[in-house]
């Protein structure tokens, strides 16, 4: 036993066991850890007996170190030394010795675990307050816009109530023969009701607090629609102050992969900032311009919100994106708007900038194009889900309808498929020049570039992956026409099911392999 006296000098609890688990030796710190005198320990036969009632001994690792000599570390083990003590956490290292006995070292990591769990609670508290701040900012924005919104609601309410009274009068005076009047009134009531409902729904969806998971969610949206929604919110206030909103976009063909509610929050914030400043400075012919640009050189989507107000003073330029910076009077602004907006845009891998302009303030939101955004997004998702799968498939789907892109996004999510979505053939081609994909699914009828023209251009780029068309029953014939010339592998007919799509994809990939 004297062979082990060297371990006496160690600061860790150490014991030596034979292959049956009998305690051959234990050092000073071992008795401290287990709060037992060496005399008591000597009376205990095996380590299993010692652990009995105190914690779970890692039997599997113990057996392993006997069968396959080496060094192994256990997971964290909770120990309850005696009823009076608090729990402690240890990791145990088993090492086989030359004399076939097993050296067992205990590392007490209670302090680290406690710190770790404390840090985790604090982190989750921080996350919670972050969510609350986001919510507070939205509430503050709505508060500022409430005058406009209440005007917007009371108008249809007056119309509805008025028309109901008119119907009542018509009934009382038995003028029921006047059917057209009644029909008109009823139509007005219904219309007013719809107007109010849409305002309330819009407000609800804006104010609803997102959970942590929902914060991470991204969906394909028409950027124009999101911007129009943000205008809908602020428009009553803009109208009230005769501020012109110039919309420099028309076609609904710029698609982004975003968290809709959050981007809406950023836009409403920028719009209401501009509103406040234009009103405060009583600008003549006040106006606000919103522009969407697809920046093909850098694969970016840009939204520009510019006003013709006094602009931002030079000394404030570096301050405005910081928390709690506000030019408004106490109680009027939270000073959080732009800093939250920055956080939201950065969570989208984008940038929020203040541009250099001669007049007014011009904010620029830069978001990555959907092709890039969808690629990184699904790459991250797949990494998190499947560590071992190294044969992930990369598929590009080209469709100008966001609904279809969102369906594919859902289908591929659990399939280990990396998904590149695109809404525009030209953008898709640009991406295909740089990124290899295993398969392309393209809608057949699209504005700008049809499925046929797109496929031709893909082949011109010397890309040989299988292509599947996406179309309706009536276009079934196109497959026979393009099958040989363009190497179109098949056609997915709308409406499609998850199973149908996956079958078509795997079939096409199998055919390709056999060639």
């Amino acid at each position: 036993m004297n062979n082990y006296t060297l371990y006496d000098t160690l600061f860790n609890a150490v014991t030596v066991l034979d292959t049956k688990g009998k305690i051959l030796y234990s050092n000073h710190y071992f008795s401290i850890l287990f709060k037992m005198s060496p005399r008591v320990i000597k009376k205990i036969n095996t380590i299993f007996e010692l652990f009995n009632g105190k914690g779970e001994f890692p039997n599997a690792i113990f057996e392993r170190v006997i069968n396959e000599p080496g060094s192994y570390v256990s997971e964290e083990i909770e120990l309850q030394i005696n009823e009076l003590d608090t729990q402690c956490t240890v990791v145990i290292k088993f090492t086989s010795l030359e004399d076939k006995n097993i050296l067992v070292c205990f590392n007490d990591i209670s302090i680290e675990t406690k710190l770790h769990s404390k840090y985790r609670t604090q982190l989750s508290e921080l996350k919670n307050s972050h969510l609350q701040i986001l919510q507070a900012d939205k509430l503050a924005t709505i508060g500022e816009l409430s005058a406009g919104i209440s005007h917007e609601i009371s108008n249809p309410l007056t119309i509805a109530a008025g028309n109901i009274e008119i119907i009542e009068v018509l009934i009382l005076e038995e003028k029921l023969k006047n059917e057209d009047l009644i029909k008109d009134s009823i139509r007005d009531v219904v219309e007013s009701h719809n107007r109010i409902t849409s305002i309330i729904l819009n407000m609800k969806s804006f104010l609803r607090q997102q959970t942590e998971e929902e914060e991470e969610e991204r969906e394909y949206c028409n950027l124009e629609e999101v911007i129009l929604d943000s205008i809908k919110f602020t428009n009553p206030s803009f109208k009230k102050h005769n501020i012109k909103i110039v919309q420099n976009f028309s076609k609904k063909d710029i698609v982004a992969l975003i968290n809709r509610t959050k981007i809406l929050q950023v836009l409403v914030n920028l719009l209401s900032n501009a509103l406040d400043i234009l009103v405060e400075y009583k600008i003549k012919d006040p106006k606000l311009e919103i522009e969407i640009v697809r920046n093909r050189d850098d694969n970016l989507l840009e939204i520009r919100v510019a006003d013709n107000g006094p602009g931002i003073p030079t000394q404030d330029k570096s301050e405005i994106f910081k928390s709690f910076f506000t030019t408004k009077a106490i109680g009027e602004g939270t000073g959080l708007g732009l800093s939250i907006a920055t956080q939201i845009i950065e969570a989208h891998q984008g940038v929020l900038l203040l541009e250099k302009t001669n007049i007014g303030a011009s904010f620029l939101i830069q978001l990555p194009s959907i092709e890039i955004q969808s690629y990184t997004q699904s790459e991250i998702m797949q990494r998190a889900r499947t560590v071992s799968k190294n044969d992930t498939i990369k598929i590009m789907v080209l469709d100008n309808e966001v609904k279809i892109l969102n369906i594919f996004n859902k289908i591929f999510e659990n399939e280990g498929i990396i998904f590149l979505g695109s809404a525009n053939g030209y953008d898709a081609l640009e991406v295909l020049e740089n990124i290899n994909v295993d398969l392309i699914i393209t809608d057949y009828i699209m504005p700008h570039l049809s499925g046929l023209e797109f496929s031709k251009k893909v082949r011109e780029l010397d890309i040989n992956c299988p292509i599947l068309y996406l179309s309706t029953e009536s276009n079934k014939g196109i497959l026979n026409r393009d099958r040989d010339e363009l190497g179109i592998e098949g056609i997915i007919l709308k409406p499609f099911s998850k199973e149908g799509v996956l079958k078509a994809i795997y079939q096409a990939l199998k055919n390709k392999k056999e060639l």
Binding site: S150, E152, S154, N155, T158, I159, G162, N163, E165, K240
Partner: protein, 139 residues
């Protein structure tokens, strides 16, 4: 019904009213209510300030019902203009609005408009306000 309104109107002549609101359907609801009340000789409707100014120039108007939120001007600005340009005729005003804050309210009081109707309102509320202004019994 006999209502005395201004020095020019004869004793048994009913007053005329102008409704100014950009929301056409609100105008038509109010117009229906006012016609049904049989208080007025004429119920005129305008959807914009310029249209209203023209109509006031063309015919004798005794009461103007005006919305506070107008697309090209505030209702109070309109009242101010009318008070300056038509100071000879005594025109009464009723301001309606969906939302009033303290600032707007003090502006209205300063203009000498004592009657305000908040949207949404009912037929009875409208007629009651109108009668208070015209100092006539509620029919």
């Amino acid at each position: 019904m006999v209502v005395k309104l201004s020095s020019k109107s004869s004793a048994n002549e009913k007053p005329s009213v102008l409704i100014l609101d950009d929301e056409k359907k609100i105008c038509s609801v109010m117009k229906t209510f006012l016609i049904l009340s049989e208080l007025f000789k004429n119920v005129v409707v305008a959807h914009s300030v310029s249209m209203a100014l023209m109509k006031i120039g063309n015919e004798k108007i005794d009461l103007v019902i005006v919305d506070y939120n107008l697309p090209d001007k505030k209702g109070t600005d309109f009242i101010d203009t009318i008070k300056k340009t038509h100071s000879k005729n005594k025109i009464h005003f009723l301001l309606i609005s969906g939302y009033l804050n303290n600032k707007a309210l003090s502006e209205i009081i300063n203009l000498g408009v004592s009657q305000v109707l908040v949207k949404p309102f009912t037929r009875a509320m409208l007629i009651k306000k109108v009668c208070e202004i015209l100092k006539c019994p509620v029919p």
